[in-house]
């Protein structure tokens, strides 16, 4: 077993060019798919953030005092699909109103009682905004519920399109990558068909022939995964830094790489090992036919 393990490592270096080609193709494919996935992930987060900004405004009956209004808040919080209800007092509502109007003397002296106690309600799922509005209207003490359902529907559509497009593009990229990688590995195996024929002629069992290729595939996969990970990290940080420097792109809040670090490590590691091991073992199969 020790010998076969050493052979696997040795093979990788003695067929250095093909190993290098396999690593390069695998890394390139992983970085392309990884980049695209991260772009999609960032867009998705951005849309979700924007969606979260789209909150309901629940106005409490103006005859309720503050204590009663807060009690209504407890009932709002218990409503299905409500994530959080933040209390806004009449005074705060007045202050925000004046601020929205650009301030100035015109609004000076307006009494807080002109406004109503309110709740800013964020939802678990904005696609259910309409039914949640209906449910909130049923609560005693709720005078009015304001929500931009057309905006919520717009965000839902964008999110759906994004999901479908990303799945389709990632699947296409994955198929193209697997095709490229498997061809590279097949080429590497074809390069060694004579060596495999010699092993068979000497009476090597399929397991004996396969094991060094398994080790080699494992190492190539691992190296590819590691290289792709660091390359991805570098490129991502570089791009994120560039975007934060551009004023017109301040809208984009780039997800820091550390937030996706472990999922990237796991995905690249698993993908590298899968492609390396599975690719080697599958490609060698046809040379093992008796």
């Amino acid at each position: 077993m020790g010998y076969l393990f050493k052979e696997g490592i040795r093979n990788m270096f003695t067929h250095g060019f093909m190993s290098f080609a396999a690593v390069c193709v695998t890394v390139a494919c992983m970085v392309i798919i990884g980049s695209f996935s991260l772009i999609i992930y960032n867009l998705s987060i951005l849309v979700s953030d924007m969606e979260r900004q789209n909150r309901l405004l629940v106005c409490v009956d103006e005859t309720y005092d503050t204590a009663e209004a807060k009690a209504v808040g407890s009932r709002i919080n218990l409503t299905d699909n409500v994530h959080e209800a933040v209390f806004i007092s009449r005074e705060e509502a007045g202050r925000r109103f004046i601020e929205q109007q650009g301030g100035g003397d015109a609004f000076e002296g307006i009494d807080a009682s002109t406004f109503r106690d309110q709740f800013e309600v964020s939802l678990e799922d904005n696609t259910r905004m309409e039914e949640t509005i209906q449910a909130l209207r049923q609560i005693q003490g709720v005078a009015e519920v304001k929500g931009r359902t057309e905006l919520a529907e717009g965000f839902t559509t964008i999110q759906r399109v994004l999901n479908i497009a990303s799945v389709a593009i990632i699947v296409v990229l994955l198929v193209v990558s697997l095709f490229m990688i498997s061809n590279t590995i097949k080429l590497a195996m074809y390069d060694r068909r004579d060596e495999i024929a010699i092993m068979r002629m000497l009476g090597a069992t399929n397991r004996f022939i396969r094991f060094p290729y398994f080790v080699e595939g494992f190492l190539i996969g691992m190296i590819s995964g590691i290289v792709a990970f660091f390359l991805m990290w570098g490129l991502y940080d570089l791009l994120a830094n560039q975007i934060t420097r551009i004023d017109s792109l301040q809208l984009f809040n780039i997800v820091p790489f550390r937030d996706v670090l472990w999922i990237t490590v796991a995905t690249f590691g698993a993908a590298g090992l899968f492609v390396g091991v599975f690719g080697s073992v599958m490609s060698i199969r046809k040379f093992l036919d008796v």
């Binding site: 010998y3 003695t14 004579d194 060596e195 024929a197 010699i198 092993m199 068979r200 002629m201 000497l202 009476g203 090597a204 069992t205 399929n206 004996f208 008796v290």
Partner: protein, 229 residues
């Protein structure tokens, strides 16, 4: 021991390579299998190494019946037959010692066994001082000796040499044949497949002649087939 009984091989394209071949080679024999190109010699070698299955008939090699052999047993059958090829088929990036040792690695021999056996076999084929060389640093004759050493290293019951002198000059060819004769004298069955008439006729051995997939002569009277016919 090789036993072919009424063996026919028809390739998928319909090419009839062997037709009702009966062949029996006992342990310890030295046999030449001769015939012109396309006569069926290579098909016999592929059947001997179980690379091909016969279309009909039965084949027994060193106790393995090929019509009933399981796929997983084929490597073990192959270990009883050492094969030598015209183009040597050495692994270019391994030294002479490693190439020969490789034959033992395949059967799971220990490092200690390899260290004892490989120098002995290299000495037997006259390459005791060439162990650290790479194949491309050797002459054709020496490379063929490495191939013979590799075929011999596991002490197989039989050596099958497919045109072993095809790439060598007459003097080296004769030396290789002498070496095979010496190996045969040590008890290993040797089958040399060739179409070199002069070489065959220099040795007084059993000659099986094959033409158009049929055995046309089997005796001690040398190589008489005219390649033109």
């Amino acid at each position: 021991m090789i036993d072919f009984r009424n063996v026919t091989k028809v390739y998928e394209a319909g090419n009839r390579a062997l037709e009702g071949v009966d062949l029996h080679i006992d342990d310890g024999e030295f046999v030449f299998l001769v015939g012109p190109s396309g006569s069926g010699k290579s098909t016999i070698i592929k059947l001997l190494t179980a690379e091909l299955e016969p279309t009909s008939g039965s084949i027994e090699i060193n106790g393995y019946k090929l019509e009933t052999i399981k796929k997983r047993q084929i490597p073990y059958m192959r270990r009883t037959v050492g094969v030598i090829f015209q183009d040597f088929r050495l692994i270019e990036n391994k030294t002479v010692f490693e190439n020969v040792a490789y034959g033992m690695r395949v059967v799971g021999a220990s490092g200690k066994e390899i260290k004892t056996r490989v120098p002995y076999v290299l000495d037997l084929v006259g390459l005791e001082n060439r162990g650290r060389r790479l194949p491309h640093e050797l002459s054709g004759g020496e490379q063929q000796r490495v191939a013979i050493a590799r075929a011999l290293v596991n002490n197989p019951a039989m050596i099958v040499a497919d045109e072993p002198t095809g790439n060598l000059d007459p003097q080296r060819s004769y030396e290789i044949m002498m070496l095979l004769e010496r190996i045969n004298a040590l008890g290993t069955t040797v089958m040399v497949v060739t179409h070199e008439r002069e070489l065959v006729n220099r040795f007084t051995k059993r000659v099986i002649a094959i033409n158009e997939g049929k055995v046309i002569n089997d005796g001690m009277d040398g190589y008489y087939i005219n390649e033109e016919t």
